[in-house]
């Protein structure tokens, strides 16, 4: 049985051996053949030596969720042979380096072994330890190209583009690819039944990771101040922002930068800098992960209460505590929604893929300034650091930043008096002034009790008046956050499924599969918090709503219960939180188990 453009394979290597460039080459080559493809990098919290894997799924139907069923394994790391051999599906293939004999205990009768003497060939062809190690991975890519039927012209084109300025590297790469390709062609029946054929499904798409997309979004939104403390898996967001700023915001003539990136001493300082910069009128942001949000809590409360805009990207990783820094989770949903002591509630945006990370990055700055409050963009390691195939990013040149109710010098000149926290037009959002603009605009920004005039207070009524307005203001943002994505089942159903963020891909695939089994589910993906009317209605309209998420404690379900008032009986929780991206089979198994129990 052949599987054309519908299979998954995995490459097992060690960290620091240059496998990323070989993996990228394979992904891009498949993408350029017009075939939908996604890659998941499973890597350790380590710089060199520990095992790392790269999973590639090819799906003619465009399914992008992780699949744990591998048709082929390129087992290049002897340290993980045993687990890698065990993960190949029955009837699948295992590519290994046949320079050394494979231990008999690793042989499975239901798997076809493809031995390629990668080390032997590379040792003969290349000089120096480093190059020999790096080129082994490239030679393996060459062998895979032959085995899977990749277009060699495309591969050659890619290496030419990549190494156009480094002819020596171009030569070595071309040589290594040929070594692997020629060996596989000569020794195996290429291509295998799992193979690629050109399609035309990727021409309007790009391959991009969410951190790059979000960093680009911050540039397009006009953010000028970024403050951060390096933390996995958010680091590459600021690195992307920096790279784009160097490209677009550097004036070489005057040697001046139209941006400032400050590497703070810790996350407490990073968010403080963002608040200071926003207070002074810049669009400012900080990228971080769960541990950083924990540290930022006190300042987040200040920004909420003193009504200072701030944008926080939380690229979530597995917690609690240090947890698993290089594994993904959706474990900060509750933390971000109500961060800081006292009564607080925050606007949150939940991108499902890199394209939404770009769009929501821009949207977050508008919401932060319009509502004068912190806004969280909750992505995760899977979205942030993996390459996703998404529709091309689009930009409307008519876009102008929504700076909210910031009074200009001219407006202040006309005004009789200015009071910072007065609800002048009844929408719960007061007017704001920037320092240095006008004598009439002065006020005292404070996290201590204040009345609507901005003065310090310990008066019960004055305090409550401001707190009530703040509650109203944040609730009104429910209409301004991105609307949920809703997909109704083909036939009417009493069953609903709600999810968030990157679980989208797995849920869409699972719903398609279950529909074929006669299980019809209406679908809703929340994209913003506070939840809008559509979310409340969706929960009301269904007898049971499955809530699919990646954390142990069903945090999204808790949020839904708290915010919609629906009881625990209205929901069935489906969770997978072991650190890998959610797969369709997790959703299917979870939903079916609950349905069987109910039957």
């Amino acid at each position: 049985m052949s599987q054309i453009n519908d299979f998954a394979f995995k490459i097992a290597t060690a960290n620091g051996t240059g496998s990323a460039s070989a993996n990228g080459l394979i992904m891009q080559a498949i993408f350029r053949m017009g075939v939908p493809v996604t890659g998941k990098n499973v890597f350790p919290s380590n710089i060199q030596g520990l095992p790392t894997w790269y999973e590639i799924r090819v799906s003619k139907d465009g399914y992008t969720a992780r699949t744990p069923h591998f048709d082929l394994m390129a087992a290049l790391n002897p340290a993980t042979y045993a687990t890698d051999v065990a993960e190949v599906r029955s009837g699948g293939w295992l590519l290994h380096d046949s320079t050394w004999p494979l231990d008999e205990t690793l042989k499975r009768p239901d798997v076809t072994y493809l031995g390629v003497p990668l080390a032997e060939m590379c040792n003969a062809a290349f000089k120096g330890v480093r190059e020999r190690i790096l080129m082994k991975n490239i030679a393996c890519a060459g062998a895979l190209a032959a085995l899977l039927g990749m277009d060699t012209g495309i591969i050659k084109g890619l290496t030419r583009e990549k190494f156009s300025k480094k002819p020596a590297l171009l030569d070595s790469n071309a040589k290594a690819i040929a070594l692997g390709f020629d060996y596989a062609t000569a020794h195996f029946d290429c291509p295998l039944p799992i193979r690629l054929e050109p399609m035309d499904e990727t021409k309007d798409s790009i391959l991009i990771d969410g951190n790059t997309a979000a960093g680009l979004g911050a540039v397009y939104a006009g953010a000028t101040v970024g403050a951060w403390y390096p933390i996995t898996p958010s680091t590459s967001l600021m690195e992307a922002f920096k790279g784009f700023c160097q490209k677009y915001r550097r004036d070489e003539a005057t040697k001046r930068n139209r941006y400032a990136i400050i590497q703070a001493e810790d996350e407490l300082a990073a968010i403080g800098m963002v608040i200071g910069a926003s207070w002074a009128g810049a669009r400012a942001f900080t990228p971080t992960s769960g541990p950083g949000i924990s540290l930022m809590n006190e300042f987040i409360g200040l920004a909420y209460y003193a009504e200072v805009p701030a944008v926080l990207f939380d690229v979530q990783r597995a917690g609690p505590s240090t947890g698993m820094p290089t594994r993904t989770q959706q474990c900060d949903l509750l933390l971000c929604a109500y961060a800081s002591h006292g009564d607080t509630r925050h606007i949150c945006l939940y991108p499902a893929d890199p394209r939404e990370a770009f769009e929501m990055a821009v949207h977050a700055f508008d919401l932060a300034e319009r509502f004068q409050t912190p806004v969280f963009v909750l992505s995760d390691l899977d979205i942030g650091m993996n390459d996703w195939m998404v529709p091309k990013l689009a930009w409307d040149d008519g876009y102008r930043p929504d700076r909210g109710k910031v009074l200009s010098a001219a407006e202040l000149d006309q005004a009789k008096r200015f009071y910072r926290y007065l609800d002048v037009d009844g929408d719960g959002i007061p007017q704001r002034t920037l320092p240095g603009v006008h004598p009439k605009g002065a006020y005292f920004t404070r996290g201590s009790g204040h009345n609507k005039y901005g003065a310090y207070t310990e008066d019960a009524d004055e305090y409550e008046e401001v707190m009530e307005r703040l509650a109203r203001k944040i609730q009104s943002a429910a209409k301004a956050v991105p609307a949920p994505v809703v997909r109704k089942a083909a036939a009417p159903t009493t069953l609903g499924l709600i999810t968030v963020g990157g679980c989208h891909a797995a849920c869409m695939e699972a719903i398609d599969v279950m529909a074929k089994d006669g299980i019809a589910l209406d679908y809703l993906r929340v994209r913003g918090f506070p939840f809008g009317d559509e979310v409340h209605e969706f929960v009301r309209q269904h007898d049971v709503t499955f809530v699919v998420e990646q954390n142990r404690d069903a945090q999204l379900r808790s949020l839904l219960m708290l915010e919609t008032g629906a009881g625990v009986a209205a929901f069935e929780s489906v969770r997978y939180y072991a650190g890998f991206p959610m797969s369709a089979h997790h959703v299917i198994a979870g939903v079916k188990a609950k349905l069987e129990r109910a039957a």
Binding site: I206, A260, E265, W279, A280, D396, P435, F444
Partner: protein, 351 residues
């Protein structure tokens, strides 16, 4: 009630500065600190310093953390934006504000608890970054708002009001700032306005982090015998080692210059600070010797005051980041967003 607005009635005979404002125009709300608090004297010196400089109040941003000292920005420059940050974290707010609008004149007021305990890290890193701010550490050796616990600046052997003896070493803000590379380091005394006003003015004119540690006795919890931060102790042990005169850019230097004891340093905005060295061997432009001399004199219980160190040629944070003359916060969107055509072009990289 801890907020009392001050009536804005001016006596017609009040003296006006170069921009036509009286001293009253540089005041704020009425203080709610204890009568006789050193901090109120510092507030008075701040008001006089700004008035004499004829700074338009609204061009200033005044920042603070939490504590008695941090309340004081409410008591001066009512037409300046104020920011009461969370405890010990004012430097981060100032750093962000300075990045967004390098044109703001920033004054930060903090205390020894705010700066040397909870905020030690932030203070250190703001110094390291050379953020352009005048940072006043109103130092009384005690936690006033929580009623009399020792702070990190309490000297070993000094006693609390209840008679407890402090056994730990003190963190000295001046030595800390010198160690971390601060570009303007001074110490003064809230009871010495004549010394303090020119120091504040020079600190405001200095481009970069200007640090002034000001002994500011707490009359309620740390003004007793056994305290080394009391009025009596400080008056007895204060030794002015460098007397600084501040000369605004437009004024000519008229004072006689004795090569041996007077040194003039030009600040970034063209103003001058003239340093009269009271102690012959002291050199306020030599960091290591300044540090050594202060340490040496501390051993004989002298509290050295004055402009102890200045480096006028350093690069502040905005210069290190190569920021444009126009504040980042004011840049037009067209200069920030690359636009759709560029996005289309860029995405070839992702295929």
């Amino acid at each position: 009630m801890t907020y009392i607005a001050k009536p804005k009635v001016h006596h017609p005979s009040l003296q006006r500065n170069a921009i036509g404002l009286t001293r009253r125009d540089y005041e704020g709300a009425i203080t709610t600190l204890c009568a006789g608090c050193g901090h109120d004297s510092i507030t008075a010196a701040i008001i006089q310093a700004f008035w004499e400089l004829s700074v338009p109040p609204h061009t200033v941003a005044k920042l603070s953390g939490i504590g008695c000292s941090s309340k004081t920005p409410a008591y001066f420059l009512r037409e300046a934006h104020g920011f009461n940050a969370v405890h010990g974290r004012m430097p981060a707010i100032a750093t962000g504000a300075g990045a967004a609008n390098a044109g703001l004149m920033m004054i930060g007021v903090s205390g020894d608890g705010d700066s040397l305990s909870i905020g030690l890290g932030q203070l250190s890193h703001a110094i390291r970054r050379n953020v352009d701010i005048l940072y006043l550490l109103e130092n009384n050796g005690v936690y006033g708002l929580t009623k009399g616990q020792f702070s990190a600046s309490a000297d070993p052997g000094s006693t609390s009001k209840k008679g407890e003896v402090n056994t730990m070493e003190a963190i000295d803000g001046v030595l800390l700032a010198l160690t971390l590379g601060a570009t303007f380091v001074a110490r003064s005394f809230s009871g010495d306005k004549a010394q303090l006003v020119p120091l504040i003015q020079a600190g405001l004119a200095h481009k970069g982090f200007a640090f002034i540690d000001i002994i500011s006795p707490c009359v309620t919890f740390n003004d007793h015998e056994g305290s080394t931060k009391s009025y009596a102790y400080t008056r007895e042990h204060q030794v002015e080692v460098v007397q600084a005169d501040f000369i605004a850019p437009r004024e000519a230097i008229t004072s006689e210059q004795d090569a041996g004891t007077v040194k003039s340093v030009m600040l970034h905005d063209g103003s001058w600070v003239t340093l009269h060295k009271v102690a012959d061997s002291y050199d306020p432009t030599d960091r290591d010797r300044a540090y050594a001399y202060i340490r040496e004199r501390q051993k004989v219980n002298e509290v050295l005051t004055g402009l102890l160190y200045i480096a006028s040629d350093s690069k502040d944070m905005a210069e290190q980041h190569e920021l444009p003359d126009q504040p980042l916060a004011g840049l037009p969107f067209e200069q920030l967003c690359p636009g759709s055509a560029e996005l289309e072009k860029l995405q070839a990289r992702f295929r």
